[in-house]
């Protein structure tokens, strides 16, 4: 079997030679990585942290702060944890690809050059 | 607080295993 990879969404990006230089890509995507399991609720709750945007149900779980001059990052998870990390340049850029089984389409939607990485043990919130 | 939002930290990081990719796994 064989299927084309569409790069329609990347066109303007590739043509203009723009690429990610900070926490998110020019197309608005971000890659966040944590050394551990991130437990989040999977069911709706009547709580201010739960919202609906464009028919998607979301849970707000964290707050991220980046210090661009030093590439340091702080991540607050829930109400109790604080993680220290950094903006890391990827050794090899990563293409973000969606495999849409329903429509039989494969699309490269973005390219990540950086990720925000948290590999230290979470600290309590002081 | 019944809503659990929590990072369970892992001491190490492992990524040594590599395997070929099957066609069906692209779509699952």
């Amino acid at each position: 079997p064989s299927i084309n990879v569409s790069k329609r969404q990347l066109q303007t990006l590739l043509q203009s030679d723009q690429h990610q230089t900070s926490v998110s890509t020019p197309l608005g995507n971000m890659m966040l990585e944590i050394q551990g399991d991130l437990e989040l609720p999977r069911q709706w709750s009547e709580d201010q942290r739960f919202t609906t945007i464009d028919k998607e149900q979301l849970v707000r779980w964290g707050l991220l702060h980046i210090d661009p001059s030093r590439n340091n990052a702080i991540l607050f998870v829930g109400r109790k944890q604080r993680l220290l990390g950094s903006l890391v340049k990827l050794d090899t850029p990563l293409g973000l690809i969606k495999f849409n089984q329903q429509d039989g389409i494969v699309e490269m939607q973005d390219i990540f050059y950086y990720k925000v990485l948290f590999k230290s043990r979470p600290l309590p919130i002081m | 607080d019944e809503i659990r939002i929590w990072v369970r930290y892992k001491e190490g990081f492992s990524d040594a295993v590599r395997k070929n990719v099957s066609w069906s796994s692209l779509w699952s």
Binding site: P1, S2, I3, N4, V5, L10, L14, S24, G28, N29, M30, M31, L32, E33, I34, Q35, G36, D37, L38, W44, T51, I53, E56, Q57, L58, V59, R60, W61, L63, L64, H65, I74, F76, T92, P93, L94, G95, L96, I97, K98, F99, N100, Q101, V106, M108, F112 | K10, G12, F13, S14, D15, V17, R18, K19, N20, V21, S22, W23, S25, L26
Partner: protein
């Protein structure tokens, strides 16, 4: 600061793919295309590769133990309550996680392999192809390309080398016997019409072959002639319709057939073999021949005489292959033995190093002799 959210229902259809500099170049070229491919059909579940028009990359899944979240910026309709406890600037944007991944696809450039598993062998008989392509699983070159884990360029190169032919749209591979006959007829006809071996045009060559042949029973269709030119020639640069005959390739093809015919049951002295080999060519054929051209197809059971030895009769295990070769011939000239074993040098070691792993090497004058350990 950024508010981080995650969707309650995660999308599992996203993947992360390593983009090497070569792959990035392909992406940036507006005329290029990339395809995910695998050998066979959907159900066969072969290994997935990524192909540009010219290259093939094998996908390797690298699992990891971290949580990776892929997020997209959005505009929140709500006024998010200020989190004043942390003493940080109030959040300015919102990101929502839409996917999580626990692996990445690495990409390793490899040689693509044409999938000829279901391609029929055609010996020139008039009953190919069957009506409507009944019983032919591969019904077109497009089908063949789609079911091969191989870039188009690599596929077509291998196809030409194999003697692949497309008859009434259906791919087939010409049998050795049919290739031999078609080559012979093509050479004779080309010489009879004084065609230039360095610039053989398909149309002219076909006309030469088909002069005076009864079209009813003629197996040498234009597709067959094209296959002959592809297999035994090289396309002339910047000319889509013109081939230069590779005289060495033709000579070797005749030589292997001659070894098979005259040196299978017993060995033959080289001088006698050269005469026999020459006799198999069309009369007045201008091809130079040397025994060394057939290295990898013969061994020397006693002294200098030659005996036919096809590689497909040898063990595929490297130790056993060396054992068999030394059983047939106790000492080998290095140049004679290398073509029999180099295909098993899977790690790509320098040939000297490779040989020394399994055999003994010593110099005798200008020659390098290989024998068993």
């Amino acid at each position: 600061s950024l508010n981080l959210h995650e969707r309650l229902s995660i999308d599992r259809s996203f993947r992360l793919l390593h983009l090497t500099p070569e792959l990035l170049e392909v992406l940036k070229d507006p005329n290029s295309k990339l395809q995910f491919k695998a050998a066979g059909n959907d159900e066969d579940d072969g290994d997935v590769v990524l192909c540009s028009r010219e290259k093939t990359w094998l996908l390797r899944q690298k699992n990891h133990s971290n949580t990776t979240m892929l997020m997209h910026e959005f505009t929140s309709e709500q006024e998010t309550p200020l989190e004043t406890t942390f003493g940080l600037p109030s959040p300015m944007s919102d990101f929502a996680g839409f996917a999580r991944t626990t692996f990445e696809y690495e990409t390793k450039e490899v040689s693509g392999i044409l999938n000829v598993e279901s391609i029929p062998i055609h010996n020139g008989s008039s009953d190919f192809p069957p009506a409507d392509g009944r019983d032919l699983p591969v019904k077109s070159m497009d089908d063949l390309l789609a079911s091969s884990a191989c870039s188009e360029k690599e596929c077509l190169l291998q196809w030409g080398q194999l003697g692949g032919c497309v008859i009434k749209g259906y791919p087939c591979i010409l049998s050795s016997d049919f290739l031999t006959k078609a080559l012979h007829v093509t050479l004779m006809s080309a010489m009879a019409e004084s065609l230039n071996f360095s610039r053989l045009r398909l149309g002219e060559t076909f006309d030469a072959v088909n002069k005076d042949i009864d079209q009813e029973s003629n197996p040498y269709t234009i597709d067959v002639i094209k296959t002959i030119l592809e297999k035994y020639g090289e396309k002339v640069k910047d000319d889509d319709d013109c081939w230069q005959l590779n005289q060495k390739k033709v000579a070797v093809w005749y030589g292997i057939r001659a070894l098979k015919k005259y040196a299978s049951q017993s060995s033959i002295p080289p001088a006698e073999f050269l005469i026999k080999w020459k006799s198999t060519f069309p009369p007045y054929a201008p091809f130079d021949i040397e025994i060394e051209m057939l290295r990898g197809w013969f061994f020397r059971p006693t002294g200098s005489s030659l005996q036919y030895l096809p590689k497909n009769t040898l063990p595929s295990d490297i130790k056993e292959r060396f054992m068999m070769l030394f059983k047939l011939q106790s000492q080998w000239d290095m140049d004679d033995i290398v073509p029999f074993v180099e295909e098993l040098n899977s790690k790509g070691l320098k040939i000297d190093v490779f040989l020394m792993k399994y055999a003994r090497k010593r110099r005798v004058g200008k020659k390098v002799i290989i024998s068993s350990r």
